[in-house]
């Protein structure tokens, strides 16, 4: 199955802004993040189709992931 991954802020360095990724059946959110080389502790917010989701979430085809480091401002 394929998912869309969007990265933001410093997570784009050396990676990408947006990419399609193939994920095996049963693959989890945490596995996708680990494969990107992003440490779980550095993740500030991860949204799956716009909603917060746990690292153990089993992904399904067509989902969109937004992954941000810990940030603040405003």
């Amino acid at each position: 199955m394929r998912i869309t991954v969007k990265l933001f802020a410093t997570f784009r360095d050396g990676l990408f802004k947006e990419a399609q990724r193939d994920v095996p059946e049963g693959g989890t959110l945490g596995q996708v993040i680990a494969e990107l080389g992003i440490a779980e502790k550095d993740v500030g917010m991860v949204l799956v189709n716009g909603r917060h989701a746990p690292m153990g979430l089993v992904l399904s085809d067509g989902l969109v992931l937004d992954i941000f480091p810990l940030l603040a401002g405003g």
Binding site: M45, R51, L70, G74
Partner: protein, 581 residues
């Protein structure tokens, strides 16, 4: 113990054009910044007075730690009864004034009374106190011209607080500008305090800190150690050590858009199609390509550098202090979607002296009313200069804020609380900030209890689901109580992230205050101060005629907001529980 602590209060009476120097009342000795300005306003301003009349008083106070070597402690508080909300106001700004006041040993500057006649004045603050002079040359001029002229008259190092034409015309969105370390502007933006200064016929306050006695520390060694620990906590946190210096506060654009809380088209949508064009990541690329600077501090000792120098295509300076709120509210909420137009708007708003949050939201309302089309950036620039800046009838409507503009044009979708415009987070999809908007005695103000980090990023240990009502009242209460010490110590609000996440932060802050003043306060004192100040502010508002009915969001927030179909569904009783402490 160290040297004698020098401290004084400067009081200016504009009715008889007199000044005096007072000693600090004992009960004010442990207060600074917001704690001092709000205590003062509650004690000396009759709550029912007309905010632009003789009874209102304007006070400026540096934070408790301002003027010391501790990082990011140079914030300045301005307080008065707000002509915009009709309640108490503390508006907090960066720039150099707080550090200069503190080094001069000035605990507060109080301005009261109203002069008779049409003469304009300036105040000059130095080691000998404060003096009043007539001013003619700079009347009608923008804030940048004030800075340029005063630097010619008084030297490059002069500190400046000033109002633009909007303040002179007593517009309710008028702000008070503070010169930063590079002669650019920061603002006491919210609540129309520029109109209060204008009502007192004071165009500017110049500050000369030559031969200032400096800040004395009760225990310099302890202070130094604690200052080092505090700086380490700020630098070590990814939000303040990396995110803000790299991308500025507009790094929030993509976050808030992804979360579906991005005010768009006058608060009718929660996401903006053109978000990438106005995001912090894009802004950084644009700034670097044009020879600007993605990092800039508004004062000496800033280690976060949230500001930036934004240049145009030809590499000429356009604006600094170009913030998420302004960018989002003009970019997405007014659909301008173009950083260059927004940057020019930011410069003009600083120059004519209007709050960039209030004014940007007002344009969204005016667009809904059909005064100008959504997305017409060029017309926004024209209206800022030629209508608001010139004080035409339309300009005065726009310059009086979103609430008044909405009433004038019969618009029902008017995003305000206590008549103050709602900042750049839709409260339906981030409910914690919504509780802050409705309950803060300041009116809609994201900085009063910044729940965004807790609702989205899990700041403080875990995420409190932004779309659910659970725990939001408790969260906002906790944050609003904690924010009082930030606003009173002179700390920059962005320390909120390390304060929530790094267990060394609060003990270091406590240690700094104790070492500065020779006290032995415990962290419990922070909570007590926060609760006392909030209750003092609330009591002023009640006495001024505000009530629980003003602690509500406008009706239209019951309409579902895409993409989550989020609605504002707190009952009045649920909101009022905020005050159960």
């Amino acid at each position: 113990m160290g040297r004698k602590i020098v401290n004084k209060i400067l009081r200016v009476d504009m009715t008889n054009l007199s000044t005096k120097i007072e000693s600090v009342p004992k009960e004010w000795s442990g207060l600074g910044g917001r704690a001092l300005t709000s205590t003062f306003v509650a004690a000396e301003v009759v709550p029912t007075c007309h905010p632009l009349g003789e009874g209102n008083k304007l006070i400026f106070a540096p934070g408790l730690l301002s003027g010391t070597a501790a990082a990011n402690t140079g914030r300045f508080s301005a307080g008065a009864k707000s002509p915009l909300t009709g309640g108490i106001k503390e508006s907090n700004a960066g720039g150099t004034a707080a550090q200069q006041f503190a080094r001069l040993g000035i605990k507060a500057l109080i301005i009261e009374g109203l002069p008779k006649g049409d003469t304009w004045y300036s105040l000059h603050v130095n080691k000998d106190g404060v003096s009043i002079a007539e001013e003619t040359e700079l009347i009608g001029k923008g804030n940048y011209a004030v800075v340029e002229t005063l630097e010619q008259r008084l030297g490059k190092k002069v500190g400046i607080l000033s109002i633009g034409p909007a303040g002179e015309m007593r517009m309710l969105a008028a702000n008070i500008s503070v010169k930063d370390k590079d002669s650019r502007l920061r603002s006491h933006g919210r609540g129309g305090l520029g109109a209060v200064m204008g009502s007192k016929k004071i165009k500017y306050i110049s500050i000369d800190d030559s031969d200032a006695p400096g800040v004395s520390l009760a225990d310099p060694e302890r202070f130094k150690t604690a200052a080092r620990a505090l700086a380490k906590a700020i630098i070590n946190h990814p939000a303040t050590g990396e995110g803000i210096p790299t991308f500025g506060t507009s790094v929030m654009v993509n976050i808030i858009n992804a979360a579906g809380s991005m005010p768009t088209r006058n608060f009718t949508h929660g996401q903006f199609e053109g978000h990438n064009d106005i995001a912090g990541e894009t802004m950084r690329e644009v700034i670097l390509a044009r020879g600007g600077s993605p990092k800039h501090g508004c004062q000496a000792g800033c280690i976060m550098q949230c500001s930036q120098v934004y240049n145009d295509k030809d590499g000429n300076y356009v604006t600094a202090g170009f913030e998420y709120e302004t960018i989002e509210l003009l970019g997405a909420n007014a659909c301008i979607g173009n950083l260059d137009d927004i940057a020019v708007a930011d410069y003009i708003m600083d120059d004519i002296g209007v709050d960039s949050i209030e004014t940007a939201v007002t344009f969204g309302v005016a667009m809904e009313a059909g005064v100008l089309p959504f997305g017409d950036g060029k017309e926004v620039l024209r209206m800022l200069k030629e209508e608001i800046g010139m004080g035409t009838p339309l300009g005065r409507i726009l310059g009086s804020g979103a609430g008044n503009c909405g009433k004038t044009y019969g618009v029902t979708r008017v995003p305000v609380v206590k008549n103050q415009a709602i900042p750049a987070y839709d409260p339906r999809a981030i409910k914690g900030i919504g509780i802050t908007y409705v309950t803060s005695p300041m009116g809609a103000d994201h900085t009063a209890g910044y729940a965004i980090s807790h609702n989205l990023m899990g700041s403080g240990g875990r995420i409190i689901d932004p779309l659910k009502k659970d725990e939001q009242v408790e969260l906002s209460r906790h944050l609003q109580i904690g924010t009082v010490i930030v606003d009173s110590a002179g700390l920059c609000l962005f320390v909120g992230s390390p304060m929530a996440d790094d267990p060394t932060f609060v003990p270091s802050l406590m240690e700094l205050i104790n070492a500065r003043f020779g006290l032995a306060l415990t962290p419990d004192w922070i909570g007590e101060l926060g609760m006392n100040v909030l209750k003092t502010e609330r009591a002023f508002n009640i006495a001024a005629g505000l009530s629980s009915k003003d602690d509500r969001l406008p009706e239209f927030f019951k309409e579902p907001l895409l993409p989550h179909n989020a609605v504002w569904d707190f009952t009045g009783e649920e909101i009022d529980e905020f005050w159960d402490f």
